[in-house]
Structures are given as structure tokens and as C-alpha cells.
């Protein structure tokens, strides 16, 4: 990520260093977030684990489940989002009641359970969706809520917190870049003033000498020397140089433009619905995986179907003109035709799950500060050189993965360098082209 900043905004070294210092703290937070997101993929991960309250593993598993599934409607504190805040809920209700409510709240309501009916009525008869969790998983979620972690950290992890923090570095570079421009402009103005002043002084002195002093011929020639520009532009050397520079510039431009054909970096088409990632992923901190459901499982991250939007928007902001478009699509039974932004050529095979789940790569590494984009644009060039660079530099995420066990040992015994994607064959043709 940092190397990307270096490439895209290659400014002066100290600004970069400044940015580094600013972003460092945030970066640590961001990677923590990524870890959570990663664990969140596997609801079965905690299955079979002994559920004992206070076990940090259980709590973090519960945290992952909570953030991926519950946080959209519930806070772990006392705030009401869509449903009630869950702080202290385990004291109010029995564990078995909570488990059956989570699994299928409608069944509980229909069974006539007084508490259930009361809650249902209190929150405008809004049904909570059913979740196919195991008992242990539900227990882990409530263990997390009991731990109070969510309640404390929630206000801290505000919009400028975890996810957003990752990009402070980029912002810093931008801010300092603006300041530098002003300094430069001021300097240029000062220089121009200097030059004009100097020219004025020369002219004054010349006039003075010519009028007031009787100069001899030699001195007069020196004072009134005339510069013959035609000699300069008539000289062969200068002409050749100019032509040469012109050709080089032209060639450079041509090559640059030709190489840029098909690269759509910065491509930000207008979408049929003005969906804002800044609002959803940034401000509301909805996990990417909540909508892009297959990002940890499949080659494609998948664009959410309208029924995922409806999980919330059947209740939230139903009057908005943009949301109305989703309703219309559903009524007309016509899918929403989003404009594809990231267009890899057909000859390249890319698999999201390989990078997200196995590699532990953050979404932002390739997609940029998505949580700040009102309109999504293509952040990375998506060229083969860009892929290969990353494969050459990125160390493999081998920790705890049984697939790599022997390979890491083998690599360490034969090479001192990092065990990168490339050193495991990740820059061979048929890893992506088949």
C-alpha cells in the first residue's frame, strides 16, 4: 500500500516521510480490521470450539460474526440502529431464548413468547432475519457483546477510525502537495520580480554611462553591446538540438500514449444508481463481504443482487429517489445494469478468493480508498506489470496455512530473501493465463 503511494504521488521525500508517520498508527488499525474481515468469511470457524466466556479466541470469533452479520442493525453498545443495542442483553434474557430468537425470531414470535412479541411490537413489527448459526457461534457472539469490547470501541471506531484511517497517508501527501505548490508559485513570483529589477538596474546604469561619461570606443562597445539572436537560431548545433528534442518528446509521448491504450486507471463511469461506497463502507462501516458475498469464496467478488440491498433498504431511507430505483427494478423484474469498472482482459484469470482469503490482501490494496469514494473509480492500472510487481514484492501469507508448511522451510534453507508470491511460482505464465 505504501509503495503504491510512492508510485502514484512521487513527490518530495520529506512529504512522504511525514505521511508515513501520520499513517502508521492508522495502518496498524487497518490491518487489524482486515484480519477481522478475513475471519469473518467462515462462519463455521468457531464450530467445535469450547465456548467459555472470556476466552479471547471465542470473543474475537464472535466479534467477526457480529461485525459481518449483526452490526448492520445492532450496536454492541446501547444505541438503537435498526434494532436495539445489545449491551447487557444476556442479563435480560436467557441464553436459550437468545439462541432461538437468533435462529428464527419469527417462529418464536408466532409461538406466542411474551418477550418476543413485546420486542417485535416495540420495533415497529420489523422482523429480524433468521441466521443459520450453530449454538456455539451464537454463544460466541454474545460472549463478544458481554466482553464490552464492541461497546467501548464503537464510538472510537468512528468514520475517521479503522477503515478510513488507512488513507490518512494519501491525504497528507495531497495536503502537503497543495502547500508546496503555493510555495513554488511565491518563489517564481519573487524570481520574476528579481529578474525585472535586475533588468531595470542594467538599463538605468547603461543610460547613465552613455549620457554622463565620455567613454572611449572600446568601453562604449562593451556598454552598448547588442546581442544578435539570429546567430543563435541560425547555428546548426542549435537547430539540430531543437529538432532532436522535438523528436524525443514526440516519441516519448507516442510511447507513453500507446502503452496507455486500454489502461483505464481513474475510470469512473456514471452508475445507474448513485450508490456511495463512502456512505456504506466508510461511514456505516459495513463490511465489504456483507454485499460482495463471494469475495472470499469465488473468482468474482460479485455485485450484490437487489435482495441484499433490500435487507436494509426495505426499512432504511425508503423515500430516497435512488432507493426507489431498486424498488422499480424489483417490480419490473429487470436486473440493475451496473457499469463495469474493473475490466480485466479475457485472457487473464483473476481469482478474488486467492488474494483475499488465502493471500490476506486488503480490498484497498487494489481498489484504493474505496471507503472514501462517492463514485468508484479504477484506482490501480490493472496492467500485467502492476500484477507482477506485487507478486515479486509481496511475501506470501503462509502463517497457519498447512499448504505452505514444507515450502517455507525449503525456501528458508535455500534462499535468504523473503518467500514471495513469485518465489512460489507466482509469476509464471499459466498462473494467470489459461
Amino acid at each position: 500500500m505504501i509503495s503504491c503511494i510512492l508510485k502514484t504521488q512521487s513527490k518530495i521525500l520529506y512529504t512522504f516521510l511525514l505521511a508515513l508517520v501520520v499513517s502508521f498508527g492508522a495502518f496498524a488499525q487497518a490491518s487489524e480490521q482486515a484480519e477481522v474481515a478475513q475471519k469473518g468469511v467462515d462462519p463455521g470457524a468457531t464450530e467445535g470450539a469450547e465456548v467459555t466466556t472470556g476466552d479471547p479466541a471465542v470473543i474475537s470469533a464472535g466479534e467477526a460474526l457480529f461485525k459481518n452479520n449483526c452490526a448492520v442493525c445492532h450496536s454492541a453498545g446501547s444505541d438503537v440502529i435498526v434494532g436495539p443495542g445489545l449491551q447487557g442483553v444476556t442479563k435480560k434474557r436467557s441464553e436459550s431464548w437468545l439462541i432461538s430468537w437468533t435462529k428464527n425470531s419469527q417462529a418464536l414470535i408466532q409461538s406466542g413468547d411474551a418477550d418476543a412479541v413485546a420486542i417485535y411490537n416495540e420495533f415497529n413489527k420489523q422482523a429480524m432475519p433468521s441466521f443459520a448459526f450453530s449454538d456455539d457461534e451464537i454463544k460466541s457472539i454474545f460472549a463478544y457483546i458481554d466482553s464490552g469490547k464492541g461497546a467501548v470501541s464503537a464510538p472510537v471506531a468512528g468514520p475517521e477510525g479503522a477503515v478510513a484511517g488507512e488513507n490518512v497517508g494519501t491525504d497528507a501527501v495531497g495536503a502537503i502537495g497543495g502547500y508546496l505548490d503555493i510555495v513554488l508559485v511565491v518563489l517564481i513570483i519573487v524570481l520574476i520580480v528579481l529578474v525585472v529589477t535586475l533588468l531595470l538596474i542594467t538599463s538605468l546604469l547603461k543610460n547613465y554611462l552613455n549620457k554622463n561619461r565620455q567613454l572611449n570606443e572600446y568601453d562604449a562597445e562593451v556598454v552598448n553591446q547588442r546581442f544578435d539572436f539570429s546567430k543563435v537560431y541560425k547555428s546548426n548545433a542549435v537547430r539540430t538540438l531543437v529538432v532532436l528534442i522535438f523528436v524525443v518528446v514526440l516519441l516519448d509521448l507516442t510511447i507513453e500514449k500507446t502503452m496507455g491504450i486500454g489502461i483505464q486507471q481513474g475510470y469512473a463511469p456514471k452508475q445507474p444508481i448513485a450508490f456511495s461506497h463512502k456512505l456504506h463502507a466508510g461511514e456505516h462501516q459495513i463490511d465489504c463481504n456483507y454485499c460482495h458475498t463471494t469475495v472470499y469464496e469465488s473468482k468474482s467478488a460479485s455485485i450484490p443482487s437487489a435482495n441484499i440491498c433490500m435487507n436494509c433498504h426495505s426499512q432504511v431511507k425508503t423515500e430516497s429517489a435512488e432507493i426507489q430505483k431498486i424498488y422499480r427494478a424489483i417490480e419490473r423484474n429487470e436486473p440493475i445494469q451496473w457499469v463495469r469498472i474493473h475490466n480485466l482482459p479475457d485472457l487473464a484469470y483473476f481469482n478474488h478468493s486467492q488474494h483475499t482469503q488465502v493471500g490476506g490482501v486488503e480490498c484497498q490494496t487494489c481498489h484504493g480508498p474505496i471507503q472514501e469514494m462517492d463514485v468508484v473509480y479504477q484506482y490501480s492500472p490493472l496492467t500485467m506489470g502492476w500484477c507482477i510487481d506485487c507478486h515479486r514484492e509481496t511475501p506470501l501469507n503462509t502463517e497457519g496455512n498447512g499448504y505452505y508448511d514444507k515450502l517455507v522451510e525449503l525456501h528458508e534453507s535455500s534462499s535468504k530473501g523473503a518467500f514471495t508470491v513469485s518465489s512460489n511460482g507466482g509469476s509464471e505464465c499459466s498462473k494467470c493465463h489459461y
Binding site: L347, V358, L410, S430
Partner: protein
């Protein structure tokens, strides 16, 4: 069929399509010459001038700069309401069943984004767990055939289902005469029950089963069922005109059983001995240890001689077959009582009676014939069909339904069927397109494709299976069963009907049991649903005498095409080479060399074949070694002239007339007259060389030698050096690769390979391999990544010269060798590529980067195995290759594997070891934090092989199957092809062992 001298530049010209007309006088071909494909004429006029070149250059520059101005806007359209089970980019698998003309396969269907893209064997099945037939693989394309009917027809006009239903119901209510339902064999218990119920509404109803390549004689001799042959228990197998590995009865289950007795366990070597007596050189005959060519007229005599010898202890005489050989067959049979099996493909009930008696005499019943579990895959009753034809002509049939039956095209008395239909009041066809019979029908009510339908199957008693829809119907077709239900005024649909029918076989909780059966695709708890009874109408008993004639002809079923022409419009299957003749795209007159020499006929000469009924066809001749002398053979299923089958139009000729009715039975043989014409018509064969010219390419040895010393059966090349002969690998100029992670490899057992072609077909489907058409196959430009080389060999050639070797013997032995990229560790192709488009991976795979390839073809020239294929043309989105349906229309493209690139013009391609599967398998393992399990990652060819001849795996994993085989067979049967070149292939072959008498 006009197959007279007619040359064409492309299929378009032959068919004279509107596109061709339009472009006929276009200057474009001059401007952009397409070399070669058209022959001399246009090649000379297609010169590129300097100005043209400059124009082109300018144009392309302008085009590139224009194209770069604005990238096309591409849409990403998600589901509106995503089905729970469908994850974009993740394949779903559903169990189903393929059944066509006896070829039964329990299958798994791979779907991506809810469209089926691949068919694989269902390992849960007890009958076909290992592999599929090529037909099953190819059947996928039938689903996406644009020529299927999209709506029902009334008198040939598009109609609505309500109108069809109303009209048929009212006409059925007033039907006058017998109602007949003609179908090919139905092994669906529920469908059969439904048809019976449908028929019970009429006073006079008959369900006539008509199989194009029928086993009526066999059925009649065995009480209406096919004996439960179990080849796996047989030490001695005698086949008489029965191609049981290719086309006869149930080839895929039989191949699995057969190969169990042919694979050699090195620790306890044992092997069956297989005698084959046959007219054509069939797939089964090619695999036999001892093969004897016989004329059709000699078949009955041979069977009765065998019968007499086995039962009466008499001598096996009175036949044209060598008496010594016959005696040894009899001796083997008698020595292996209870462990021997005789099968016969004859359709003569008299002959089959004798075969049954032989099997009883050698104790086969209850041993090599499972009497409790007969096969149901063929139920055709020729006598009933013949009677129905007469009844139709007599005008006593009021209504007739045709389901999977097309007798106007493929019955020996097709003309009588057509004339009889004129006298039938109501004719309904369930055909999926307007075929020959549907053309004459009043109503065509198109049936779903099997991948769109619910159905159940019982190919063998106690072996039930299910097919489930894996895609919602593409067109407004309706399943035949649902049509019957609608016409019987029943509100239930066939799914519910079938479920309630299954309540009797599922014990315990029905819903759970049903879900499990649908999930597994099979239910093999021993219970049976299908009601089969002995045929009511039978042919007279007794042996029919086949009159010997100067030229006896047989009409036979091709392994990949099937009997009735159902697959004619499938370009994949049309281009799949015949396992033995290696011919594609059409049929031909297969004749022995001796006869050809006598007649002065050369290969590709067009012959006029006059049948016994004085009809005649013209077909080119193919010299077929092993064809019994005095006989010719022509394949069924060609000579279509249908608009609904554009791929098949004009290919070959219809030879069903060879089949004759002899005393109430249909025999697939008769005498014909052959006349030479002056025309020639080239046959597109993919392999025209029959010999390996003495090089060590395939290896074989005898079982006797193997038992004596297994280390002597394979010949290993040694290179002479000053230190004496050494292994080629020891004097390498190259550095070896170090494989740290995986080292993928393949072992191909030549003993197990029967040459059926399922692997080739499976590879084509998996890897988006284009169909190139007859003209290009003739130019040797077929694109198959995997081919099965077939070599003829004979003892008498050994001392002779190469010229002699080019002439296969009259009865050669045959050996099959699957040939694909050998993924050499010292690959000759890699070193000659000027742009490094092909190189070695760290896992031992020889990679091919299509977008780096500039098309020099150096690699193909330097490949000793000739497995590299060059894209001479753009086969996708190109009207000239319209028959390449999977790449040239929107519907056909649905079949393409989305994980594999469709290659463009001018690049080289070849077997990738299914790298997309390797990558996916590794990814799955990584996601689960473990190493890949052996058997989890398999190539398409290995997965589809019905005999497990191909084993793919990681040679780096000492516990993998491939590592164990290699460790055991090294120095015994394991060898590399052309080892002397020291290219060090990652594919190892195992020497073929023959159990010679």
C-alpha cells in the same frame, strides 16, 4: 444424397448459404487472402500488393487509435434476487443421468451461473462410477442447439400449447382405431407406468418399442430382458459380432467390468483372454487377444459349431474358421466353466437361443451372468414394430405417437412407414426438432432436453437413477411426460407423479430418502421399479439362413454417433474420430484391402452401392484392415437432409436399407452390389499413417512373457557411449528442474485403454476446443489437444522394410495410444520459441501463453509428438465456421468453459494438463489450510475415462496413486515414448500386455 464429384471451398459453398452467395463476388478474399483452405485458384489471385499492404497498415493504425479513444462500456449485471445456492464464479454439481439408445451413464453435471458446462461420471453409481461415453460428454451441446424447436407445431406451423392440447385432446376423444405409442427403449419406470396409464384410456392401445440397433433376438431368447452379463468375473470372453465396449447393449458398464479382468496386478498377475469373431474391425475386436474375421453368413454356423462342441462334446467343425483355433476356444471355455462368457450381437433369435445354450453349458448363468439383475437398456421389439407398420398401411391405426423414434429415417422399411403414416388419423411427434418423422406428423410437441427434465431410470434391475433439471427450459418446450399428463386431464406434473411412484422404493422418511436419491443421482438398494414383460409379439424361432453373396454388407453403429442419428447435428461428435478408422464427418464403405485390389478401388474412390431393394447410394471407399474379406461395412446415422440439422446436412449417405427383414427379424446385413464410379470424395481421417516405422512409440508384449519375467516386457533405449550403453537421461546437456511444491504427471496404462475416445471428447468440452470442419480436418488442421493414436501391427511385418510396413495386414492386431502434450522436462518446443510464449512451470507443466504467441510454429515443428495445434483461422465468431456451434452463436457459447480462454487466430495451443483444474484444486486446498489430497485434482481426460487408463497426480507426493504406480512399474512396464530423445516427458505409459492363445 448427391456425393458426386463436387469440390467446394468451404461448407458454405457446398450448402450455398445466403452468406456465401453474398460474398461470392466480393473482392475481400483478394484483399485478405486466406491461404490454403481453398486450394489453388484463389491462392494465386490472393496476392497482396504493396499498396494494399500500405492501405491495410494505415487502416489498422487508424483502427487502433480510434479504438483507443474510448473503451467500450461493459455492463456488470447481478442477479435481481440471487438464488441461495448459486455463487457467481463457483461451480455447482448436480447428479443426473444420460441415456440414449442403450448407452447409460450416471453423470454429474457441472453448472456455472446455472448453465451446464461439463458432464462427468457419477462416482456414487454402481454401474458407471469411473467414466462416461463420448456421447454422454457430447450430449451437453444438444441442450444449446439453436435448431431445436422453440415451440410446438400444428401442421408445421407455430402454435400455442393450449391450442395443441385442445386439438389433440378432442381428436383423441374421437379416435378411430388403435392408438400406438412408438418409442425407443424406455428404462424410466415412471414414464413407462405413465404411458400405460395414458393408454388404458383407449380401448385399443399398444406401446411399441423400436430400437434402431435393436437386440430383439437377444431379448426374445432371454424372456424379454438382457442377461446380466458380468465380464469382470470371466476368464474367457468370446464375442461374436458384439461390440460390447463400443456400442452393444451397455458399453460403459461393460467396459468397466471388462477392464477389471484386463488390468494387471503386478503382485498377482492374472488376465482374461478375449476371443472376438466379427465382420467389421470394431472397438471391441481391436482390444481382443485373438480376433477372427468372419462373414455375416458364417455367423450362425460358427455359433452352432461352438454350441455343438461345448454341449455335445463334438468337434467344432463345419465352419470357415480355422478348426485349430476353434478347438482352442472350446478347450478354454470348457476349462473355465463358471468363469467364461459368450456374447453375440446377432439379432436372430435362433442364434441367440444357441448362445444362451452355450452359456448354460459353460456354467455362465449365475456366475458370469447375474440372473437376478438383468439389463433393461434395450427393449426394442422388431416383430411388434413390423406388425405396426403393416397395421398402419392397412389403415387400422387411429393415432400414433413418436417419442425418441424416427422410423421414417432409420427403419429398414422407412418407405413403408412413410406410406403407412398417410393412413393414420392423428400423428404426434415429440421430436426436439423437425426430423424426418416429425415432418409427416400433424403435431410436433417438442420434448425437453434431458438436462431440462425430471426422469428416472433403471438400466439394470435394482439400479435406479434419477435425472433432474439443471437449467430451466431454454425454449417453450414441454416434457413428453407432462404432455401425456395434460392430455389425460391430470393436473399433477411429472415431478409429482414420479415422486409418488418412488414412494414404494424409498424406505423410512420419504422426503429424506428422496432428497438423498436426488442428491446422489442413484438409488441402489436392490429394489426394482421397472415392469418388464416378455414380448407379446415375437418373431418365429429357428435360425435364419443368411444367404452368402459375393459382397456381404453390414450396417453398424458408430461409437460416437449412435444408431438413430440423434447426434447428427452435434459437431463435437461429428469431428470425434472413429476409434478404429479415425475418420470424421461422414460415413464410407469400409472394405478389406484384398477386395479393393480386386476391384481396383483406391481409398476415397466413390462407389455406387446398390442394396437388395435396388435403392442405391454413393459413398467413398475406405480400406479397412481387419474387415472380413468379401464384406463391406457402412455406418448408420448419416445421410440427413434436414433444415433442422445443418451440421449433418450432406454428410455421408443413409445405409439403413442394408438391414433386411428375414422371417420376422431384422438382420443388419444383406448382399449388395458395388460399382466403381469415376468420382473421388476424400474421407477426412485424422490419422493416415498406420505404422510407427519401427520406433519405440508403443510397446506391447505377451502375458506369458510377463509372467515369466516382468522386467523383460518393455524395451528400454540405451545410448552408446565410450563407457558403454547408458540411459539417455544420464547424458543430458541440460540442467534439471527442481520441483519443490508439486510435480504433476500422468500415467497411461495401454492395457486399460480401449480407445473409446471419451477422453478426447471430455478434453474438447473442458478446454473450449474448436470444431474445424471436414475441409480443415482434410488439411490436417484438427484442433484436438488429445488424440488416440491407433496402430496396426502384425508379426509378418517385422523383418520387412518400411514400404511393406505401410500396408497393414489383413487381420492386424490393434493398439491404442492416447497422445497428448507430454509436458517434457527438457521440452524441445520451449527452446525454439523466439518470444518465450511456451515455457516450463515450477510444477512441471509445459505452459502456453496464448497472448505472447506470435505464431511462428517453430514449437510445433520441433515437437517430436506432434501434439501442438495451430489456430489457422478464427474459429469463433466466424460465419465460415458456423458449424462450430459452441463458438458461433449466442446460445452455443453457453457451453464454453468460462475459466478457459477462447484462442484467437494465429496462436499455438496444446494440452495444458487442465491447468485451470490444477489451479482451482490448489486454491481449494489453500483455502482450507491443507495440502491437496490425491485424486482431488484430475484432468478432464482422466476423470472421464471409463476404464481408469489415465491416472493424473502429483509425483512429488509419495503417497499419491501415480507415485506408487511409477515406483512399482519402473523397469517393468513403465516407459516413455521416444525415450532416446531425452526430452524426459512427465507422461509415462505402461506396456500393453496381450494374453495370446
Amino acid at each position: 444424397m448427391q456425393d458426386r464429384i463436387k469440390y467446394w471451398k468451404g461448407i458454405e459453398e457446398l450448402e450455398n448459404t445466403p452468406e456465401f452467395e453474398k460474398h461470392a463476388h466480393n473482392e475481400f478474399p483478394e484483399f485478405l487472402p486466406i491461404n490454403g483452405a481453398e486450394g489453388g485458384e484463389s491462392a494465386s489471385s490472393g496476392k497482396t500488393h504493396r499498396r494494399d499492404f500500405l492501405k491495410l497498415l494505415g487502416f489498422s493504425m487508424a483502427a487502433v487509435s480510434l479504438a483507443s479513444c474510448e473503451a467500450p462500456v461493459r455492463k456488470a449485471i447481478p442477479y435481481l434476487n440471487k438464488p441461495v445456492d448459486v455463487e457467481p464464479g463457483v461451480a455447482n454439481w448436480y447428479a443426473s443421468t444420460f441415456y440414449q439408445g442403450g448407452d447409460y451413464n450416471s453423470i454429474l453435471v457441472k453448472t456455472r451461473e446455472a448453465r451446464p458446462i461439463k458432464i462427468e461420471p457419477n462416482p456414487s453409481s454402481g454401474l458407471t462410477p469411473l467414466g462416461t461415453s463420448p456421447k454422454a460428454q457430447g450430449s451437453l451441446l444438444g441442450l444449446y442447439d439453436t435448431n431445436r424447436l422453440r415451440y410446438p407445431l400444428i401442421a408445421g406451423k407455430e402454435a400455442k400449447w393450449e391450442d395443441v392440447d385442445n386439438q389433440i385432446k378432442s381428436r383423441l376423444a374421437n379416435v378411430n382405431g388403435k392408438v400406438a405409442f412408438v418409442s425407443s427403449t424406455i428404462i424410466s419406470p415412471s414414464t413407462k407406468k405413465l404411458i400405460d396409464e395414458f393408454g388404458s384410456r383407449f380401448g385399443n392401445f399398444e406401446h411399441v418399442t423400436f430400437d434402431v440397433n435393436s437386440a430383439s433376438g437377444l431379448l426374445q431368447a432371454n424372456g424379454g430382458v438382457i442377461p446380466g452379463y458380468d465380464f469382470s468375473k470371466a476368464n474367457i470372453i468370446v464375442g461374436i459380432n458384439a461390440d460390447f465396449l463400443g456400442t452393444w447393449v451397455a458399453p460403459v458398464p461393460f467396459a468397466k467390468q471388462y477392464i477389471e479382468t484386463r488390468k494387471i496386478n503386478p503382485d498377482n498377475p492374472a488376465m482374461s483372454r478375449h476371443y472376438q469373431f466379427e465382420t467389421i474391425l470394431s472397438l471391441t475386436g481391436s482390444n481382443a487377444d485373438v480376433r477372427v474375421p468372419i462373414k455375416p453368413s458364417e455367423e450362425a454356423a460358427l455359433v452352432s459349431a461352438l454350441h455343438n462342441a461345448v454341449t455335445g462334446g463334438g468337434s467344432a467343425s463345419g465352419t470357415a474358421v480355422d478348426a485349430k483355433l476353434l478347438t482352442s476356444v472350446v478347450k478354454d471355455l470348457q476349462a473355465n466353466k463358471g468363469k467364461a462368457l459368450v456374447v453375440c450381437g446377432s439379432n436372430d433369435p435362433g442364434v441367440q437361443e444357441l448362445v444362451k445354450a452355450i452359456n448354460t453349458a459353460i456354467g455362465a448363468e449365475g456366475a458370469t451372468i447375474d440372473t437376478a439383475a438383468p439389463y433393461y437398456v434395450k427393449q426394442g421389439n422388431d416383430a411388434a414394430m413390423l406388425r405396426l407398420i403393416e397395421e398402419m398401411n392397412a389403415g387400422s391405426i387411429g393415432a400414433v405417437f413418436f417419442y425418441n423414434a424416427n422410423p421414417v429415417y432409420n427403419h429398414p422399411l422407412a418407405a413403408r412407414v412413410a406410406s403407412g403414416l398417410q393412413k393414420v388419423g392423428l400423428k404426434v411427434s415429440f421430436a426436439d426438432r423437425v426430423d424426418e418423422t416429425a415432418k409427416l406428423a400433424d403435431f410436433v410437441t417438442p420434448d425437453h432436453h434431458y438436462l431440462e427434465s425430471w426422469n428416472d431410470f433403471e438400466p439394470k434391475r435394482g439400479f435406479l437413477s434419477i435425472s433432474q433439471p439443471v437449467i430451466s427450459p431454454i425454449f417453450t418446450t414441454r416434457q413428453m411426460q407432462d404432455s401425456l399428463l395434460a392430455w389425460s386431464n391430470q393436473s399433477t406434473d411429472f415431478y409429482e407423479y414420479m415422486r409418488s411412484n418412488w414412494r414404494t422404493v424409498i424406505s423410512g422418511n420419504f422426503n429424506e430418502g428422496w432428497e438423498k436419491a436426488v442428491h446422489d443421482g442413484v438409488l441402489e438398494n436392490g429394489t426394482s421399479l421397472l415392469k418388464v414383460s416378455a414380448p407379446a409379439t415375437t418373431a418365429p424361432s429357428g435360425i435364419r439362413k443368411v444367404q452368402p453373396s459375393a459382397i456381404e454388407a453390414v450396417v453398424y453403429e458408430k461409437v460416437a454417433m449412435g444408431a438413430g442419428g440423434e447426434n447428427s447435428n452435434n459437431p463435437w461428435l461429428q469431428e470425434l474420430p472413429d476409434p478404429v478408422s479415425k475418420a470424421t464427418w461422414g460415413n464410407y464403405v469400409a472394405m478389406p484391402r484384398l477386395m479393393a485390389e480386386e476391384m481396383g478401388v483406391r481409398q476415397d474412390d466413390v462407389l455406387k452401392v446398390t442394396f437388395a431393394n435396388n435403392e442405391s447410394i454413393e459413398l467413398p471407399a475406405l480400406i479397412q484392415p481387419g474387415q472380413a474379406n468379401g464384406t463391406v461395412a457402412i455406418a448408420m446415422g448419416f445421410g440427413r437432409d434436414l433444415d433442422a440439422m445443418p451440421v449433418a446436412k450432406g454428410l455421408g449417405a443413409n445405409a439403413y436399407s442394408i438391414a433386411t427383414v428375414n422371417n420376422g427379424a431384422v438382420l443388419y446385413t444383406s448382399g449388395v452390389k458395388l460399382e466403381k464410379t469415376n468420382a473421388t470424395s476424400p474421407i477426412a481421417q485424422t490419422q493416415t499413417h498406420h505404422t510407427v516405422m519401427g520406433r519405440i512409440v508403443v510397446q506391447e508384449n505377451t502375458f506369458a512373457n510377463y509372467k515369466e519375467n516382468p522386467k523383460e516386457v518393455t524395451e528400454y533405449v540405451r545410448i552408446a557411449t565410450h563407457e558403454g550403453p547408458v540411459k539417455p537421461a544420464t547424458i543430458s546437456l541440460w540442467d534439471d528442474y527442481e520441483y519443490k511444491n508439486h510435480h504433476w504427471g500422468m500415467v497411461i496404462d495401454l492395457n486399460s485403454c480401449i480407445g473409446c475416445g471419451a477422453c478426447t471428447m471430455s478434453c474438447n468440452v473442458e478446454n473450449n476446443i474448436p470444431v474445424v470442419g471436414k475441409a480443415e480436418v482434410l488439411m490436417r488442421r484438427e484442433m484436438h489437444w488429445m488424440r488416440i493414436d491407433r496402430y496396426y501391427s502384425a508379426k509378418e511385418h517385422e523383418p520387412k522394410d518400411y514400404a511393406e510396413m505401410e500396408h497393414p495386414a489383413d487381420n492386424p492386431t490393434v493398439i491404442f495410444q492416447p497422445m497428448l502434450c507430454q509436458h517434457c522436462n527438457h521440452a524441445p518446443c520451449e527452446t525454439v520459441c523466439p518470444v518465450a510464449a511456451t515455457m516450463h512451470s515450477s510444477e512441471g507443466i509445459n505452459q502456453m501463453a496464448y497472448n505472447r504467441c506470435v505464431g511462428t510454429r517453430y514449437c510445433a515443428n520441433n515437437c517430436p509428438y506432434k501434439v501442438r495445434r495451430f489456430n489457422w483461422f478464427a474459429y469463433a465468431n466466424n460465419d465460415k465456421f458456423g458449424f462450430n456451434e459452441p463458438m458461433n452463436n449466442d446460445l452455443g457459447k453457453m457451453v464454453l468453459n468460462p475459466d478457459v480462454t477462447v484462442r484467437g487466430r494465429g496462436v499455438m495451443e496444446k494440452c495444458s494438463f487442465c491447468v485451470q483444474r490444477v489451479q482451482l484444486g490448489k486454491l481449494e486446498a489453500k483455502r482450507e489450510n491443507r495440502r491437496p489430497k490425491d485424486g482431488e485434482i484430475v484432468t478432464a481426460c482422466a476423470q472421464s475415462c471409463p476404464t481408469e487408463a489415465i491416472v493424473f497426480g502429483d509425483m512429488k507426493d509419495p503417497e499419491s496413486r501415480i507415485s506408487k504406480i511409477l515406483a512399482r512399474q519402473q523397469g517393468e512396464r513403465a516407459f516413455h515414448v521416444l525415450e532416446e530423445l531425452n526430452v524426459q516427458p512427465n507422461i509415462t505409459y505402461l506396456t500393453k500386455i496381450r494374453n495370446l492363445a
